[in-house]
């Protein structure tokens, strides 16, 4: 899949933008705060209907306006389509494919995108919600079933929480949480196992021999018997039963995949507490390399690649080595505050960004 053109209205610091892209490499360069990262974000939102870094839609809307609109012309195997994502404050987000409204899940059926950037350190060193966000964004692309399960799970969860507040019988919601949640846990376990294997390799390669590891920590406090959905269901049911009293006192749901976590270690020490900034950045990048490889293999679609400032502290030789690790990418968008390396510039187009505008294209 290739993005041929993009147009933005009121997205972050872009009031109006219209541009064509190269089918290979696109470099956005400019000062910090110029908006180059926002461009990557707009491309991500266009492909998957959500931001990879913002938690709410509202922050994507330019200040003092009340809507944003992202439109693009995309092509795959000689078929070209018009895609648009629009959001108006206080209403629902609209996604249109060739002017027909579609559901977010249909985006996931057709498009994949992997983004890497400085905010990825949060996956290792930030709060559990950034780790769940990471799994959700990429597992939704890896497994077609996942997004539907997750959406249903959260609907059930909202009903259960309302039920706990209204003091009604929540047994039916617990059972639905078990049915949806156990499949979620199983898929997360399988996905994280695959990520672990790949990330270890990449991390060893980039860090010249260091050791990375991760452990999936489901909120149901079970790390061993996660091989079959039946085993997970049994455990989840038991845990929910044990939490009944506590949940009805607290009037909210206290256990389930919405509270899952992952722990990361570097050279056998918890990355969160002991990882240096450099180690964490390298590990985060290795995670994204792993995710990119896994999605590409599983879906037989080459994900769009969005790299934000990943060369910041690297010399040209290492930068080239790193880019080559993302083997056979189709279309790449990357940002840099410094002059982009020549080997990349020569492969595609560069866009100089300043204050929400493209001021030069090459």
């Amino acid at each position: 899949m290739i993005i041929n053109s993009l147009s933005l209205t009121n997205f972050r610091n872009f009031e109006k933008l219209q541009t064509e892209f190269s089918p290979t490499v696109n470099i956005f360069y400019g000062k910090n705060g110029s908006g180059k990262t926002n461009l990557l974000e707009a491309i991500f939102v266009l492909c998957l209907g959500r931001s990879h870094r913002a938690a709410s839609e509202t922050v994507l809307v330019q200040k003092e306006t009340d809507f944003y609109r992202i439109e693009g012309n995309l092509s795959q195997d000689d078929v070209s389509i018009e895609l648009a994502v629009a959001y108006q404050k206080h209403t629902r987000k609209k996604i249109m494919l060739d002017k027909v409204a579609i559901k977010t899940s249909e985006l996931y059926d057709n498009f994949c995108a992997v983004a890497a950037g400085p905010e990825d350190s949060e996956i290792l060193a930030g709060s559990p919600s950034s780790r769940r966000n990471f799994i959700d964004i990429y597992l939704s692309q890896y497994s077609k079933k996942y997004l539907r399960l997750l959406t249903d799970y959260h609907k059930v969860l909202q009903q259960k929480n309302a039920g706990l507040k209204n003091r009604v019988d929540i047994s039916a919601y617990n059972e639905l949480l078990v049915l949806n949640g156990s499949e979620i846990i199983l898929l997360r376990k399988q996905f994280l196992d695959a990520i672990k294997t790949e990330t270890k390799e990449y991390y060893k390669l980039i860090s010249l021999g260091s050791y990375f590891d991760l452990l999936y920590k489901p909120s149901i406090k079970e790390t061993e018997n996660l091989e079959s959905v039946e085993l997970i269901q049994e455990k989840f049911r038991e845990v929910l039963e044990n939490y009944r009293m506590k949940e009805s006192i607290m009037e909210r749901s206290l256990v389930g995949p919405h509270l899952d976590d992952i722990s990361f270690t570097i050279n056998n020490l918890p990355a969160r507490n002991y990882g240096s900034q450099g180690e964490i950045r390298t590990a985060a990048l290795s995670l994204k390399l792993a995710v990119y490889k896994l999605i590409k293999e599983k879906r037989q679609i080459t994900p769009l690649l969005l790299l934000d400032e990943i060369f910041a502290e690297l010399d040209v030789g290492r930068a080239e080595g790193l880019i080559n690790l993302f083997a056979n990418f189709d279309q790449l968008f990357l940002t840099t505050a410094v002059e982009p390396p020549e080997f990349l510039k020569s492969q595609g187009r560069s866009f100089l960004i300043d204050d929400g505008k493209i001021i030069d294209k090459k």
Binding site: D152, A162, K165, S171, A172, L176
Partner: protein
């Protein structure tokens, strides 16, 4: 002049409260009604009055009906000991149209949704229990919609009904997830009913 304008506005306001009618269509409809002849307009008003006068709810199954009990409840050719439980009247109508079910219906009048403050007492559940208590019912088919609220309602009901010692089944999951029974085609509905599974 002013007075007539405000009564058109009032009409538009009433119409806009109907489901699926936005402000714009409400205005268009109001002006359309304004342009009708007196006879046409009164006929419309009378039809609305007639519907409200004549049509009510069946006190047995909660179906919309001009008679009480309704035609389905009094039909001697229908099997009395199986009840198909649905959320709303159009769901029962769709299942009936599919012609693969010849038992009774029970219309809940909605679905459980704590988020909207709808609990068991807001649905015709005690009426269903009374029917089971009074009659010779052997099977209950739970045909609520295949979405989160519909599944939760079915699970809740199965918890109530199974201890009563009757067969409780759920329509098969052949229906597209998140779809409405009302809009499913007859073949899909027949398959879902035939493939129903015991809880």
């Amino acid at each position: 002049m002013f007075k007539s304008a405000s009564s058109v506005e009032r009409l538009a306001n009433r119409l806009a409260r109907l489901p699926g009618i936005g402000r714009k269509s409400a205005n268009r409809l109001a002006f359309h009604i304004l342009k009708l002849t007196k006879e046409e307009a009164f006929e419309l008003a009378d039809t609305i009055r007639e519907v409200k006068d004549k049509v009510g709810f069946c006190t047995v199954c909660n179906n919309i009906s001009e008679t009480d009990p309704c035609q389905i409840c009094t039909d001697p050719k229908r099997t009395k000991n199986i009840i198909c439980v649905v959320e709303e009247t159009p769901d029962a109508a769709a299942i009936d149209k599919a012609e693969s079910f010849n038992g009774m219906f029970h219309i809940l009048g909605g679905k459980l949704s704590p988020l909207d403050g709808i609990g068991p007492d807001d649905l015709k559940i005690s009426e269903l229990l009374a029917r089971i208590h009074d009659g010779d019912i052997t099977e209950i088919i739970l045909a609520t919609n295949p979405n989160v609220e519909g599944e939760a309602t079915a699970l809740y009901l199965s918890g109530l009904l199974k201890p009563l010692g009757l067969k409780v089944s759920r329509i098969a999951r052949g229906l597209p997830v998140g779809s409405d029974l009302e809009y499913a085609d007859s073949a899909t509905l027949s398959r879902a009913l035939e493939g129903r599974q015991e809880f």
